[in-house]
């Protein structure tokens, strides 16, 4: 492993430890029994099958959005549309999950197909504008988030809404559409397997295929990619298609795995979480799985502290923003990196000399 790589790992670990330390500080300041609360935060999530199940449950949507965003980041694209894709593909898939009549396995498959198409369609708007006309994908994807939220709420309010329930929720899904629980005694559903499969597929695609290689080259140096004959326009569109499809399936998995109706009344936040996951994972697909489980662990810990002490769960938002700030801080710990690289160079020189 080279120094650069191990430096990235150290910075990631540093951010994770810093987040946990800040959690301690918050707990000490707010909780009446700080030591007990810290113990609950750190250890209780790992003490029972049910809580471990909660961690996995929380990680599932993060894996999807993390994979989607890491593909975009890897290509050097700042598209923040995962947020809208999760919501909108959930709405579109829900239409099928409510009214379509198909046998058990086919029905969720149909829903996933529809949501993947919906996700791709939403992502392609900023994708094509960027690839063909060089329009800033960050702004256009943010606009798309708000547009699909509006269209989605219109569909939810006027078509899907179940008037017999006081809350704003859709009709019940056809029970054949729901994803089965795969771990007894928990709510971990088959979506976890789909998420792992997606991570493996993205890994193979990125590291073992020609198209994946083109993505990596474009991300590292778009000018070089262009000169070496890579069709950058095509690469950008391809990445948006994949990112949209993955996030789209993720939205549907979350709906069919955990809920019996469509329940989101606003953007669910997973798109922005995906940015954090992608950074923690350094855009590596299996890293995404690990980062999602870590964030899931933090969330379950915060939730347990919230239940037993007077520390609001929203503490997690403070930890997450700290992680984002620290991990994307290129200059942080740079002094040490410099020293390392110099040491490396000296070693090489030494070898050459001898």
């Amino acid at each position: 492993m080279n120094r650069e790589k191990s430096f990235n790992i150290i910075r990631t670990l540093f951010s994770m430890v810093a987040a946990i330390l800040v959690a301690f500080i918050i707990i000490v300041m707010v909780s009446k029994n700080p030591f007990e609360s810290i113990q609950i935060f750190l250890l209780k999530p790992l003490t029972s099958k049910r809580y471990i199940g909660n961690i996995i449950e929380a990680a599932i949507p993060l894996i999807f959005s993390g994979l989607s965003i890491s593909l975009l980041f890897r290509t050097g694209l700042f598209n923040l549309g995962g947020e809208g894709v999760f919501y909108f593909s959930g709405i579109i898939g829900s239409i099928l999950a409510i009214w379509l009549k198909l046998p058990p396995i086919l029905l969720p498959l149909a829903c996933f197909t529809a949501s993947a198409i919906a996700g791709t369609a939403v992502m392609l708007v900023p994708g094509i504008l960027r690839a063909k006309y060089n329009a800033n994908e960050m702004v256009t994807s943010l606009m798309m988030n708000s547009i699909v939220l509006g269209i989605g709420s219109y569909i939810l309010n006027n078509i899907l809404r179940d008037p017999s329930v006081a809350n704003l929720v859709s009709y019940k899904y056809n029970s054949d559409a729901l994803l089965p629980v795969i771990l007894k005694g928990t709510r971990v559903h088959a979506g976890f397997l789909i998420a792992l499969l997606c991570a493996a597929l993205v890994y193979v695609y990125i590291y073992k295929t020609r198209s994946g290689y083109e993505i990596r080259v474009t991300g590292t140096n778009p000018k070089f990619a262009q000169y070496s004959g890579i069709n950058v326009t095509k690469v950008i569109i391809m990445v948006h298609v994949l990112a949209g499809a993955i996030a789209g399936v993720g939205g549907m998995v979350e709906c069919l795995g955990l809920h019996r109706r469509f329940e989101w009344t606003g953007l669910p936040g997973y798109g922005f979480d995906g940015c954090m996951i992608a950074m923690l994972a350094n855009n590596n697909p299996f890293g995404v799985v690990g980062a999602s489980l870590f964030v899931g662990y933090l969330r379950v810990g915060a939730d347990l502290v919230n239940r037993s002490a007077d520390v609001p769960t929203e503490m997690i938002a403070i930890l997450q923003s700290l992680i984002i700030l620290l991990i994307s801080a290129e200059k942080l710990l740079k002094k040490y990196r410099q020293r390392w690289i110099e040491k490396d160079v000296k070693e090489v020189n030494h070898e050459v000399a001898s």
Binding site: L129, V139, F272, S321, S328, E330, K331
Partner: protein, 306 residues
Amino acid sequence: MKSLLDLISTSDFIYSIFRVTTPLLFASMGAVVSDVAGVPNISLEGLMLIAAFSGMFFSYLSQSALIGLIMALVMAVAFSGLLAFFTLHYKTNIILGGIAINSLASGGTIFFLYLVAHDKGTSISLASKVLPTINIPIIQDLPIVGHIISGHNILTYLSLLAVLFTYYLLKKTALGFHIRAVGEKKEAAESVGINVTKIQAIAILFSGLMCGFGGAFMSMGYVSWFSRDMISGRGWIALAAESMGRQTVLGSALTSFLFGIADALSNALASMGYSSDLVKTIPYFATLIGITIFSVRIYRKSKKIA
């Protein structure tokens, strides 16, 4: 349909346009300055939320609207300072930094709201203060016009002054010239002795200040309490307005007003029982189309030259 026309032709409706445009004007001015300096601040939403919470909380503590406003400004500037510190000193990507501030604001304000009000929804149980409205002498007595122009919150008038101030700042002052130079070509600015980091820090802090005013208006003018995520997308609309206004002060102010009209319209529709979901997307659609047209035009031009 006729009743809708009746509704939007009233002076109440026109009055409400100024009211809903106020936070958009402040935030879009912040967006213009930070973007022109080359450090696009996308945490307008979060900074306004922090300011809205601080304004409510400190005016409740001190029972003074002025102290509430000052603390709203201080907190928004402080958090924009945090963003500036990370992006300029530690080289955090400004977009990711913006996402972090937004997430911090959204969760953090609920966290503190729960600690002070034992409620994760609103702060109605805390008696906070509102900023005064101003009746303009003479004008307030005029029929119709008086009702439209007079009697607004003091921050509404200030938001119009903020547009003039920002215009003056960018066009007529040395600082404004430096801000534009840094955004245009960082290296060139550096080579003539401009301190790039300092100028960009000032630009980010300025956007924080503007968001401070915008957020204070939300909890101490627009309504008299704080509620979770009460900015509800206004920061993004301001960003859209700035994008549509092509990073110019007057263009962004004008677009803010257009988006304010769309917002007032969706409020009016909702009050009549119509669904306002689709009307709410008008600003975003308009911006998306605007960006598309603009990008295609630039693309064609560059092709012609090539």
